[in-house]
Structures are given as C-alpha cells and as structure tokens.
Amino acid sequence: MSILVNKSTKLIVQGITGRDGGFHTKKMKAYGTNVVGGVSPGKGGQEVDGIPIFNTVEDAVKATQANTSIIFVPAAFAADAILEASEAGIKLVIAISEGVPTLDMVKVTPYLRKNGTLLIGPNCPGLISPDEALIGILPGNIFLKGNVGLMSRSGTLTYEMVGQLTRAGLGQSTCVGMGGDPIVGLYYKELLQFFENDPETEAIVVIGEIGGDAEEQAAAYIKEHITKPVVAFIAGQSAPEGKRMGHAGAIISSGSGTAAEKIAAFQNAGIPVARRPQELAPLVKELLEKRTK
C-alpha cells in the first residue's frame, strides 16, 4: 500500500507534446508508471512513444478509463487544464506548471471541491510511491520502497531528505511534493490523514518552509489526530523578511511565517525537528525503534 498513487493508477499527461511533458512522460513510463494516454488539442489520433494522444481530457478518459492526470501546460493555461481534468471525472490531478496566477487557483478551488477532485500542486515536483508509480519530475532512482511517508513544499529539498532516508535504509511509502505556491491542492492536514490511514506507513516526515502558517496548523493537527511518529524539518531560518525566496509562497510578511515560529510550533507539540538534513534519518529511526518496543 501507499497513498494516492500505486499500480492501479492510470495516468494521462496534459501537455504531452510539449518539451517537458514529452521528456517526463518517457521517464515516468520507464519507471513503470501506467501512462495510458496524453492530451494535446489538435493532435488527437497521433501517438507519442506508443501512447495515444487525444484532443480533450474527456476523450482520453472515455477511451482509457484514466483516473489520474498530470499537467505540464504553461502557467497561463494551467487553471483551465486543471478544470478540464476535474470536469472529465479525473479523481487526482497533479499540476507541475510553475507561475500560475494565485487568483486562477482561487477560482478553480470551489469546482474541485464540488467535483471531489484531489489536486497536488501547482508548482510542484509531483509524487511517488516507490516501485509502484512515479507521477512527476522526481528522480526515481533515489527512492526506496518502505514505510516512511513524506510531504514537502519543495522539490530538491525533498530529494535531499529522501537521499538521507534511503542511505540510512529507511524506505518510503509515498513522497509528495505539495508545491511552493500560496494556494495549492492537498496540504499537510489532508496528507497526514492519508498517511495515518495507510497501513504501510509507519512514520511521517513533514518538511516545511517559511511563509503562511500551515506548518503551525499541521503541528496542532498532529498532536490531536496522528498516532504515528512524525519528524519535521523547516527551511528558511536565515531568510530575510519581505523577500520571496524562490517559491511564491515562501515569504515572511510583517514578521509572521518565520522558521523560528514553525520550529517552535512543532517542538511545543512534542514533534522532533531535525535542525540539519543529516539529523533526519537518525530521528526517524529512533522513533520507529521506540514504537516497536
């Protein structure tokens, strides 16, 4: 088991004929992900690497029974692509596109709720359930199948942390890159719930960064509702105020959203915080050992 994506995932790629879409479709397929189709308006009927292309998501779903879609279209068209997937009955949408206007996501959100569509991203690297399905741009080779669930607002920091876990022999059930924008789909609370309910996941890693107060809320939620061991890491302790640190959502505004506040929130909730990446794996190990005793 794992969360959200696995062997039964049937994936379509929106923007499959674009440079990034094409490149990563190959990589996902090579990893073993079940890519059943692609969408590119005007190119319906063609094929890319043996994958059939459709003009609309609706056509693709009808022909392939796809249940998951990944979006590689340019930011200006991403919200429309998300809506198209949702209206076509796709249950899980992963939006990789970076630079989507925030108000576009504000408009899309109520429709996703209405249709019961789960969204990951935008501005995210996607997610992976090792040895089952890779949906996104993550480098598959650094992951190891196992029992640690991981969520993060960042891409390469996820790889760094996963590298730490894998080297220590701690495999992962599912790793989710949630996205670096102020408004994204599934976030800490929802993913914590998924991991809590997943029998395969035995420990959870929460990676946060400056901006907003979602980590503080996550800490409170973990204290109340999560029985599995959790370890946190927060990036941006040295970030200045008022500057957007690469991610649209990573900004300390009017003194709130600092790393110090977030670290304190986790510590106050009794959740250990790794201060350096290399502290992560030993902390997870320690908690897992305590638990089996």
């Binding site: 108000l103 996501m105 109520p110 741009i137 960042s154 920091l157 670096g180 408004i183 970030a239 690469g246």
Partner: protein, 379 residues
C-alpha cells in the same frame, strides 16, 4: 510587486472611490506650489515602497508655507528602512472624526479572497491583529459570486450605524473587491478610511501589492514597477532564468531549487557563516544559467567564498559541471569554491569538475563547513 500610495489612489479614483486631493512632488518648490494650489493645511507624505514611514517621520502635517518647506526638505532624501525618499505626496488636510481599516488579501487557509475590516483604523493592522484580533472582521469571498451587495452591506453594518454611510460603504467595498480581481492584487488596503465633516467616506491612504505570477496579463501594473537597487539585480537575474536575492553575508551560494537553496543558507549559518545571497538556478539544466550565476556571484565584491550545492533531478549534474567549466574559461575566478554534486549524472559531472581543481565534498554539511572556513581564512 508593490506600488506607491499615490499610484494606488489613482487606481481607486478610476473606480470611483473618493480619495484626498493631492499632488506628487519631487522637490521643495513643487511642494510649496502644490500646497498653495490645494490650500493649507496639507499633509506631506513620503512615497516609499516600505511600511512604517509614519513612525520614521515620513508623514508631517503642514499648516503654513514655512511648514511645507520645512517638512518637504526634511522628508525628501530621508532614509526609511534603507529606501531613500525621492518623491513626496502633498495631500489636502482633511478634518475627520473616525478612522477605519478596510482591506482585501488572499487567505491561504480558505483558499479564497478575504475581506477584512476594522473600526480600529489608522494604526498598523498587523498590530491590531496581534493585540486585539477580535477587532478585525473577516469575510472569505466566494469566487463565483464575488463580493455581493448583501455581504458588503453586512460588513458595512458592523462598522457604521448611519444608513447613509452603510450605503456608501457597500458601494466602496464592492469597488475595492473589483479592483483586487481586475488587477491580480495580493493586497488592497485603505487605512485609514475616514468620515469627513460632510459625512462622506474618503480614502486617506492606499496600499496595493500584486501577484508577480500574474504580471504577464497586467501590463499597465507592471509599468508602474520601480525596483530598488537590489530588486534591479533580482529582475536581471530573473530575465536569465535565475531566482536571486542579494543578502549581506560573504558566502555566495548556488543551488538548484528554492527549498534546497534556503536549507543551504541555513546550513551556512549553522556553521557560523553568513550567506551573501539566495540563488536558485532552477530546474532545467542549461549550462548558460550556471555561467550567468557565476557572473552574479563573482561580481559581488563582498563574496569571499562560494558554495555550490546541486541535487540533480531534472537538473543534470554534468550540465551544471559543463557550465561551471565554461564559466572558469570566461571569468577569472579568484574566490575559493567548494562543490557538492549529487543525483542525476553526478558521476559524469564530477569527472568534468576534476579538471577545474575545485574541492568536491559528499554532503551539504561538509560543503557549508568548508565554505565558511574559506571565507574566514580570506578575511
């Protein structure tokens, strides 16, 4: 992106929101003639893109021509949180009896636009939020419906007793929401909104911030951008596909990915150093970007050492290495560098790096430790 008060009020005005009569001035002479045109008293206000100008002495009431000259002279050229005041706004002095706060922003939690209002206007709203959060009314707005008249009225009734004011406010709130949507704002604020002696609502101040991701469809807003020196470098870097933010330390860093870049800066700090910048070379592996990044880092005279931290995913380590080799060909690099390459094509990358004679380490911790050591040795 931020704009000045006078620009925000120009936008308010276009939408039919009443603002103070005012004139933008660049020198004392202009200020004096603006004041005589508007009639005394006037308020002299620094136009800077940072908050807290009132506390810094950037806003002064002037009752006489002498006051205007004095205030303009003092405020022009003043330094407010690192920003030099180059323009001032001369605004009519208005008699009013009460100050309110109204504003709109994006709420990450409800994933919606949120309307905020308070009877405790005229002070920084962040302070009200900390000390008396109940004094701020918050209404999340449904994206489909927008700010309906009845919702605007409901908010207005919580602020005003007089029905004439409620009617004015309902109209004003809806206009403010429309401005927010039309311009892809992230913040729109009137603080204070006042009731004049005649019983009319008037925007005494205005603040607007915009979504950088939406500037591609907000050309008229983008034209108002006035980047400061640091922001000019940031924009230049952005045009080269780099996310770069200058900081005041002496250890340059080059990283792929924003989260890892922040963690790298933190690591430098943990080892007792200070990062000179945030630099994310992004996800694609274009060697040219690495050359541009090296140019940025080496042109900063305070940089004493450089730490390169790459965890290859879509970014291929060999492409980064190639860019670095080319940068070494083009630029005379005299600053010590330490590099850590891991992930996609790291082996091939390290093969290229060998020829450059740069110390290579395994982990970001080791890299940070070495970069801090290099920087302290060169002092």
């Amino acid at each position: 992106m931020k704009i000045h008060e006078y620009q925000a009020k120009e936008i308010f005005s276009k939408y039919g929101i009443a603002v103070t009569k005012e004139k933008l001035c660049f020198n004392t002479q202009e200020a004096v003639s603006a004041a005589s045109e508007l009639g005394l008293p006037v308020v002299v206000k620094a136009q800077v893109l940072v908050g807290g100008r009132g506390k810094a002495g950037g806003v002064k009431l002037a009752r006489t021509e002498y006051d205007v000259r004095d205030a303009a002279g003092k405020i022009l050229g003043m330094d407010i949180k690192g920003c030099t005041v180059e323009k001032i706004l001369i605004a009519e002095g208005v008699k009013f009896n009460k100050e309110f706060y109204v504003g709109l922003t994006i709420d990450r939690n409800t994933k919606s636009v949120i309307f905020m209002a308070s009877k405790e206007g005229g002070v920084e709203i962040e302070e009200v939020a900390k000390e008396n959060p109940d004094a701020i009314i918050k209404f999340p707005i449904e994206a489909d419906l927008g700010l309906t008249a009845f919702t605007a009225r409901k908010i207005a009734f919580q602020l005003f007793d007089d029905i004439s004011l409620v009617k004015q406010a309902t109209d004003l709130f809806q206009k403010l929401y429309q401005i927010f949507i039309d311009t892809d704002s992230t913040i729109v604020e009137i603080n204070p909104l006042v009731i004049t002696e005649k019983g009319d609502l008037l925007a005494l101040d205005g603040k607007m911030n915009f979504d950088d991701n939406a500037l591609y469809r907000q050309k008229s807003i983008e034209l108002m951008n006035e980047p400061d020196e640091d922001e000019k470098i940031e924009l230049y870097a952005k045009s080269k596909g780099l996310a770069f933010i200058p900081l005041d330390g002496d250890i340059g860093c080059m990283v792929n990915g924003a989260g890892l870049a922040m963690a790298t800066m933190d690591m430098i700090q943990i080892y007792g150093g200070k990062p000179a910048n945030f630099l994310d070379i992004g996800g694609s592996s274009n060697p040219q970007k690495v050359i541009e990044a090296m140019n940025l880092l080496t042109s900063d005279k305070k940089v004493k050492s450089i730490m390169i931290n790459i965890f290859g995913g879509i970014t291929r380590c060999d492409d980064v290495a190639r860019g670095l080799a080319e940068a070494f060909n083009q630029i005379k690099v005299e600053i010590p560098i330490v590099i850590r390459l891991e992930g996609t094509n790291a082996k091939e990358g390290l093969e290229i790096i060998k020829q450059l004679n740069i110390p290579v380490v395994q982990t970001m911790g080791e890299a940070a430790e070495m970069a801090v050591k290099f920087a302290s040795e060169s002092k």
